[in-house]
């Protein structure tokens, strides 16, 4: 039997257990995507029930149906435009007052509404009694006790959805009545609005009227160009004047107060609260975690723990991934013998895929940890503890976690900015993360500092570099906030939810969703970019160089001065020199030479130019490029040969070394990071700004460093 498809939307406050209920309803049949045009995640799943195919959309958590956050706009537009067959309002029953406020707004919008009284088991445990029948009478919809913990009510909800769809049960669409003076204006507005048939068939006039009275920007826009606007505006002005005169208030404030009063009244009549315990467990935990003395050290400890887990624990699987792709490369090289094809497959594709997959351990661990913090309720506390510091540079407390994650890797750090709801906070945080020195830059510092400075100096130099990054980041934040965002920042009006233990299953699911989003949305482009960079550093090949070296090789092989061992050694050296020459000849090499005049004021020669260009692929490549250019083959940052070569180059000195480290610290992050940045920032404008800004800042500060250091050292 197939009854057709029912579209259901879940709406509710953040922390109302909506996600848990969603998971209980649909199980593993879910997928994640984005709502179009915004970086808000959209979860949807399907379930079969009584022959119907029920598709459930988990709308983002919101407190109200206004239009002050993207989440609110999405929820509202979804309900208005997609017109789901049923809207299930998930309510945290332990906190009815705040949760039912949203319910009243969902009633206004005339959604086909049922309410899931979630976390009902907790209410029972508290011995609070709720008169459900009376509540239904007062608010005017169906209330179904549910719990994601013991699974109760899940079937009831599904039954209700089906029965509502088939018309077996009817929910009387109540309207909430406000005070007489407000109702009068609502009636008059409804009358005017109803004259426009187009409008009133699309939207429920009473809802439009209420929204007009509370100055809703989007509804204003909707009606502003309509001929009825003049009449509407007159009524609105009158309402404004009268409420001012009679109540020393405005319609918006009055509606809001009355809405809260309605909810309060309904609760008073239907809920019998158990006597309050002396201290709830949340209060006890907070008295330690938010304590004036222990709060800050514990916060720092948790942040350190996340960082450590993400990057230390991530190191081992990252090594495995590296080994696996190396092994794969070797295995493939044995099968594919044609040199060009082999190079494309092994150095281009396999290395490229490896370069995408290698970030997965970091991303998965970090988001597991962040989901855990969010799920327990500590995330809001973390923001609470550190907000004062972040607010000084115009940011929100929640920017802290993405920022410190940037010290490990920009890719997960950029992705972590999703916890920031405010657009200006997000963009600013995204733009300062590149300056938090990521771990891939570390080998470059080790090589350069280790070569040009003594061991004791090198420590200070490294510390100075990291500090410089943080300073530039903070200054950038201030600058951006005042230049682009007029100092606006997200209000810190934030709920500190009760501590709860998140379900392990959901944590794993969320981690997996993040990983798959990364692979699908960023991975493919990163792979393409990696292949392009590979082509740029391998092509075009110079036949001339090849012939020349072929000639020398032949000479060496046929010569009689060398014995066999010496011949092998000389041939190997020739191979390396040739690789260096070929790199110089390639697109990347030419580009490095081309930009030499630009980097010359920093004391860099064309070799450093090439190294920096290839560093856009990945920062650690700066080191291996220098190895190739100095004809040393595969080297790492500890290579004594490379250090000797660098020291032997008369162009290099301490000033150049410092400028180079500063430049590597500040210039545009690697390709993978830049692509993730673009995905998160969403607009080309910002990606362009990011590329230009980081590189310009890098140049200027490296220039200053070079000149100051030259004065200081010589």
């Amino acid at each position: 039997m197939n009854g057709g498809q029912i579209l259901v939307a879940l709406a509710g406050n953040p922390n109302s257990g909506k996600t848990s209920l969603f998971n209980k309803l649909v199980g593993a049949n879910q997928k994640v995507g984005n709502f179009s045009g915004v970086t808000v995640e959209k979860y949807e799943g399907t379930i079969q029930h009584r022959g119907f195919n029920i598709k459930i959309i988990d709308l983002p958590g919101i407190y109200s149906l206004t239009t002050y956050s993207p989440e609110e706009v999405i929820t509202r537009e979804y309900i208005l435009n997609e017109q789901p067959d049923v809207v299930v309002n998930v309510v945290d029953t332990t906190n009815l007052e705040r949760n039912l406020y949203l319910t009243t707004q969902l009633i206004d919008i005339q959604a086909n509404l049922i309410v899931s009284l979630n976390m009902y088991d907790e209410v029972e445990k508290q011995k609070t009694e709720i008169d459900l029948d009376q509540l239904e009478k007062l608010i005017g919809t169906h209330f179904i006790p549910t719990s994601a913990t013991d699974g109760r009510g899940v079937n009831d909800i599904l039954d209700h959805i089906v029965e509502l769809y088939t018309g077996e049960i009817l929910i009387q669409k109540n309207k909430l009545s406000f005070s007489a003076s407000i109702e009068e204006f609502i009636d008059r507005l409804v009358e005017i609005l109803s004259t426009d048939e187009d409008l009133s068939s699309k939207y429920y006039p009473r809802w439009l009227a209420i929204k007009l009275l509370v100055n809703d920007k989007n509804v204003y826009k909707l009606i502003k160009d309509n001929p009825i606007w003049i009449k509407v505006n007159n009524v609105l002005l009158e309402a404004l004047n009268e409420t001012k005169k009679e109540h020393d208030s405005d319609p918006e404030l009055m509606l809001n107060e009355e809405r809260h009063a309605l909810v309060r009244g309904a609760i008073k009549e239907t809920v019998k609260f158990a006597p309050k315990k002396k201290k709830t467990s949340t209060e006890i935990i907070d008295s330690v975690l938010l304590n004036r003395i222990t709060g800050l050290p514990l916060f720092i400890f948790f942040m350190w723990l996340i960082f450590h887990l993400t990057f230390r624990l991530g190191e081992t699987p990252m090594e495995w991934i590296g080994h696996f792709f190396n092994w794969l490369g070797i295995a493939v090289s044995e099968i594919v013998t044609e040199p060009t094809a082999r190079s494309i497959i092994v150095d281009g594709i396999i290395a490229g895929v490896g370069g995408v997959v290698v970030f997965l351990p970091n991303i998965m661990i970090l988001f597991f940890a962040l989901s855990f913090l969010e799920g327990t309720g500590y995330m809001a506390r973390a923001a609470f503890v550190i907000d004062k510091v972040m607010h000084k540079v115009g940011l929100h407390g929640k920017s802290f976690i993405p920022m410190i994650t940037g010290f490990g890797c920009s890719v997960p750090a950029f992705m972590a900015t999703r916890t920031l709801k405010n657009k200006s906070d997000r963009i600013t945080t995204l733009l300062i993360i590149p300056f938090m020195s990521c771990s891939a830059k570390f080998p470059v510092y080790v090589l350069i500092a280790g070569t040009f400075f003594t061991a004791s100096e090198a420590g200070n130099v490294l510390f100075g570099i990291y500090l410089l990054g943080v300073l530039v980041a903070l200054l950038t934040a201030r600058l951006l906030k005042s230049a682009f965002f007029h100092g606006e920042s997200e209000p810190f009006v934030m709920e500190l939810p009760p501590y709860r233990m998140p379900s392990f299953r959901i944590l794993v699911l969320q981690m997996w969703h993040k990983a798959s989003l990364y692979l699908r949305k960023a991975g493919t482009i990163i792979l393409a970019a990696a292949i392009l960079i590979w082509i740029a550093s391998n092509y075009p090949k110079s036949d001339e160089i090849q012939n020349e070296y072929e000639q020398i090789r032949n000479d060496v092989t046929s010569s009689e001065i060398y014995n066999e061992d010496e011949k092998a050694e000389v041939l190997e050296k020739l191979e390396l020199t040739e690789a260096g020459k070929q790199l110089e000849y390639s697109f990347a090499g030419r580009f490095g030479k081309f930009i030499e005049p630009i980097v010359a004021p920093l004391g860099f020669d064309w070799k450093l130019g090439i190294a920096l260009v290839t560093g856009i692929a990945a920062k650690e490549i700066v080191v291996s490029t220098m190895g190739t250019l100095y004809s040393l083959g595969e080297v790492d940052e500890t290579s004594q040969d490379l250090r000797n070569k660098l020291l032997a180059n008369p162009n290099y000195n301490k000033a150049v070394a410092l400028a180079l480290m500063v430049f590597v610290l500040l210039y545009i992050p690697c390709f993978a990071a830049s692509i993730v940045f673009h995905r998160e920032a969403g607009k080309w404008k910002w990606t362009l700004f990011y590329a230009v800004y980081t590189t310009t800042v890098a140049w200027i500060i490296a220039f200053i460093t070079y000149n100051l250091a030259t004065i200081f050292y010589f």
Partner: protein, 170 residues
């Protein structure tokens, strides 16, 4: 009407009825020449959490904000005070929501409307933001945002009973 000196407006008069603090605070206040039973008036006060000067028999006594918040006054009238000045533990009722812009909607949606009762639960370790309890849930907001919320005192929470505890961590 019991209030704290830190809640009072300039020129407001009152009688010191209690000192809400440990033995140290009591001694400190006594050494400045103030004691229970004194009639005083507020002479001047700096903005926000600044110093407060009071007059006792024409003698001016300058008090730090923290200390001033520990002296309980019996006043004839309810002082007008904003949420950012409220001491941890005290219960207040919102009399006017003066916030504008984005913050206004957030606060309204969270239920911060006229007539609602709030308890200030704690101040963040670095001094800002603050945490309040409202309708049985916990809300945090910055002092800067709390500045625009006018409140009246419902209940002063005297930590008197805990006088012996010098370390009031928990």
């Amino acid at each position: 009407m019991i209030s704290r000196i830190s809640y009072c407006e300039i020129n407001q008069k009152g009688k010191v009825v209690d000192i809400d603090g440990g033995i140290g605070a009591v001694e400190n206040i006594r050494s400045m020449g103030l004691d229970i039973g004194d009639e005083i008036s507020i002479k001047s006060r700096k903005n926000g959490r600044g110093k407060i000067s009071v007059l006792k028999d024409d003698n001016e006594i300058s008090l730090g904000y923290e200390l001033a918040s520990k002296i309980l006054l019996e006043c004839s009238e309810q002082p007008k005070v904003t949420l950012d000045k409220i001491k941890v533990g005290d219960t207040v009722k919102v009399t006017k929501m003066g916030a504008q812009g984005d913050i206004r909607y957030r606060l309204l949606d969270m239920g911060l409307v006229k007539g609602v009762k709030l308890i200030v639960v704690r101040v963040a370790p670095l001094g800002d933001p603050i945490e309040v309890t409202i309708n049985s849930f916990h809300l945090s907001l910055r002092l800067q945002e709390a500045e625009n919320i006018e409140v009246e005192i419902v209940e002063i929470n005297k930590s008197n009973g805990n006088r012996k505890k010098r370390w009031g961590i928990f």
